[in-house]
Point group: C2
Chain length 127, copies 2
Amino acid sequence: MIDLKTLKFDSDGLIPAIIQDADKGDVLMMAWMNPEAVKKTVETGLTHFYSRSRQKLWLKGESSGHVQEVVRILVDCDADCLLVKARQKVAACHTGHRSCFYRDIEGKEISEPVFDAGEVYGDKGKS
Amino acid sequence: MIDLKTLKFDSDGLIPAIIQDADKGDVLMMAWMNPEAVKKTVETGLTHFYSRSRQKLWLKGESSGHVQEVVRILVDCDADCLLVKARQKVAACHTGHRSCFYRDIEGKEISEPVFDAGEVYGDKGKS
C-alpha cells in the first residue's frame, strides 16, 4: 500500500514523473501526475498522467497503444519527483521518436523517428 | 549559440532539468533552471540550478565539490523539459546517496550512501 501523503505535490496538486526505460536505461519523457494518476499507475501497472492543457487524467498510450508497463517507481530525496522505470511499447513520443528528448539544445535532431505519427494518431490528438 | 527563447519556461520562469549520468545511465536528480542557470550551465560546462527555496542561482557542488560536468543537453518535444547528460563527481544527493532516487514508492531504500553527508556538509547547508 502506498501512502500518497508521503509525496509532495506542488501548488497545482501535481508531481513531475520522469519515465526511464527499465531495460535500455534511456530517459523517455517527463510528465505530470496528480494523486489519482499515481494511484492508477500503481494499481494498473500502466503509467497514467494528468494533462495540464486538457485538465484530465490520461492513460499513456490510450489512443496509440504505446503504453508503458511499470517495473518500479522511485521517489527522490525531497519526495517531490518520481522516477518510473517502465517497459515502453513502440515509442514514447507523439512525434514518432522513441524518446521525447530527441533534440539537443541547439535544435539538432539526434535520433530518427521509429513510427509514422500521422498514421498512428491521425486527428485524434496525442498520447 | 543557444537561443533561450526556444525553451518554454513556466509561469515562475523555470524549466525542469533531469540529470542523467552520461556513462552509467542512471538518473541522478531533477532540479529547476531559470534562463540564467541554463546560460551558466552551457557557458561553464557545470550544472547550475535555481533554488526555489533560497531564491538564488547555485552551482551544483559549490560546497561539496560534487559537481556535474555537462556532456550533452537535450530538449524534449514540447521544449519544456531538459535532459542533461553529465559526469557526476562522487554523488548527486545531499543525503550521501549517489542518486536522489534511492527509495521506492513504499519508502524502502534501494541503495547505500556512498559518502558521509554530515562530514561533507556539516552545517553549511546542501549542494
